[in-house]
């Protein structure tokens, strides 16, 4: 029986810039930042109120895992904004939107009333995008 998700990946183009985005702009908590040889580190963060979910800010570099062609394809797709990385929850979407905008986060959609609730869309520093929704938009309807 699977009990929970412990670790997940977000593929990023540059770890220094991803650190700045996720920790300084989004306010995620740094869990680990351990050097792993030249140009690579084990860099993980958690959403502020979810300390038991570790998100690995996984760099796309030519390595055992990513042969050159794969790495180039992934970087191109991420930059193009192909990948949605999930829904992030907030208490107040308007305050969160104003704060992230003030910090320079690029929004593809400001808070917008959809049939399923209020939602905004923003991109990370690599090109991955997230949906931002308040708790009430994510609660089961009916």
């Amino acid at each position: 029986m699977i009990t929970k998700m412990s670790i997940t990946n977000i593929y990023v183009i540059n770890q220094d810039s991803a650190y700045d985005f996720y920790v300084n702009k989004l306010g995620f908590k740094l869990v680990d930042d351990i050097p792993m040889g030249p140009g690579t580190r084990w860099l993980t963060v958690s959403p502020p109120e979810q300390p038991d979910l570790q998100i690995v800010l996984f760099p796309i570099t030519v390595s055992k895992m990513f042969p050159k062609e794969t790495a180039e394809t992934m970087i191109a797709l991420i930059r193009k904004g192909t990948f949605g990385c999930g829904v992030l929850q907030c208490n107040d979407i308007f305050a969160t939107y104003e704060e992230l905008k003030a910090k320079g986060v690029e929004f593809m959609k400001p808070p917008t009333k959809e049939f399923y609730g209020t939602e905004a869309l923003f991109k990370d520093d690599s090109g991955n995008y997230f949906s931002l929704q308040p708790k009430e938009s994510l609660e089961p309807k009916g």
Partner: protein, 152 residues
């Protein structure tokens, strides 16, 4: 689909509260007079505190204290001594800092500092003990390491 970008309720109110929050995030090390913050936000103090609490779940004072304690943990992790950290995050008394830290974090700042130093030296000695083996293996990080030292 109705865009609410510039039309959601009380947009200017939101901006002022957010500016006050960002002010505290950026100036936690300074003496912050919360009365001045509500003045800058053009609110009565009572109205400001109420709105701030509705949005962030804490009064401005509680929020500022939480930011200071959070920042102090970050600084202690970097190896700065407790006596220095206390003033770097805007407290002017070591006793009140230590008391608040213990109440929030559950241990004293000096115990926290010692624990973090211990973890740091363990990470340097056996980094792979802190990384899930599956990731280290997949990345080929284990190939050049000494397995004998790893205590998983």
């Amino acid at each position: 689909m109705i865009s609410m970008a510039e039309h959601y309720p009380k947009v200017y109110l939101y901006r002022r509260i957010v500016q006050a929050k960002l002010f505290m995030d950026n100036h936690y090390a300074d003496k912050i007079d919360l009365d001045n913050i509500s003045d800058e936000a053009y609110f009565s103090k009572f109205h400001f505190i109420r709105l701030f609490k509705t949005i962030y779940g804490k009064t401005p004072h509680q929020y500022l204290t939480a930011v200071r304690i959070e920042k102090s943990q970050q600084l202690l992790r970097t190896g700065k001594p407790v006596s220095e950290v206390c003033f770097l995050v805007g407290f002017d008394s070591l006793t009140s800092f230590s008391g608040l830290f213990k109440r929030t974090v559950g241990i004293s700042p000096s115990t926290y500092f010692a624990n973090q130093q211990r973890i740091k030296s363990q990470i340097i000695k056996t980094p792979f003990a802190f990384i899930p083996g599956c990731y280290a293996h997949q990345n080929g990080w284990l190939e050049n390491s000494n397995f004998e030292e790893v205590n998983l």
